[in-house]
Symmetry: C2
């Protein structure tokens, strides 16, 4: 049995998997007659075909009881997918490198600080949204286009991977 | 002198200018083993060239004292631009139809309900972000690519258009 404990989400730690969408310690430039700070291009939408489109959706997600037994991971082989919290709540992230379906020992877990969003790069394995608050809402920016853009990988029945955020949750 | 009073933002009233990004009264479908409601494609990112990219940024905006004398409008002729509030605050919107630089009598003003974001369609004239809370933050999804994607139109010096949200603000 493997216990997966989330680490605080940082740009450096998450770089192999995607982007962290946040303002802390980031550069900006001034626009609109110097009244607005633009934290420019914190993430880019990745597409696959000329006919693909970037679209904007909202997800409302039930919370998962923790600790949680992880049963599967998914990836989007044709585009990136960004999640930005709309209610300033922390959420959990479980990722594994793009490529072959992940072995359990390749999984890494993160916890956001409430202000952070993330952008999974094309093909990065990730667990579906892991909300800690019931009916929490996220802005989602991802790809629409032809073809099957979701692969799922289910762990074998004897695989026990427990996501345990007890140490990092304040409640 | 013209007084411009904001009306509540609705999908129908804003349709000539762009999309309202919200969940109220919208359809969704269930994903992630029925644990998540996906309010799908509330907006699409509009681009102009194959080499264009949709990018994700954060704007932190100073508030404007109200009532406000409006001096200019801008448009992005090569792509859409979406603003989604990250702190659940109301904000103001002033728009005019795409096309020739607007006459003052073409301007319309809206106020959001705190949960709503918007996506200006390509070429729609709009005022730069009108935050009501100092240093309010917005997720922005817009276009990056070659060419000049911002036109500004300044009203003549004798034009007096006053944006007055007094009636619709609770504070």
């Amino acid at each position: 049995m493997a216990i997966l404990k989330p680490q605080p989400l940082t740009k450096a730690a998450f770089a192999p998997f995607g982007d962290v969408i946040e303002t802390a310690d980031r550069d900006y430039f001034l626009i609109n007659n110097d009244s607005t700070q633009r934290y420019h291009k914190l993430a880019s939408v990745q597409l696959s075909a000329v006919s693909d489109q970037a679209i904007i959706s909202i997800f409302r997600a039930r919370s998962h009881a923790m600790p949680l037994m992880l049963k599967m991971m998914e990836r989007h082989p044709m585009g990136s997918q960004a999640f930005i919290p709309l209610n300033a709540n922390e959420f959990l992230i479980v990722v594994a490198p793009a490529g072959e379906p992940p072995n359990p020992d390749q999984l890494q877990a993160f916890i956001t600080d409430g202000s952070q969003g993330i952008n999974y790069h094309t093909g990065v394995w990730h667990h579906p949204i892991l909300s800690l608050i019931d009916n929490d809402e996220f802005l989602v920016v991802d790809r629409q286009g032809e073809g099957d853009n979701c692969d799922e990988h289910f762990f074998t029945a004897d695989t026990e991977i427990i996501l345990d955020p007890t140490d990092v949750l304040a409640y």
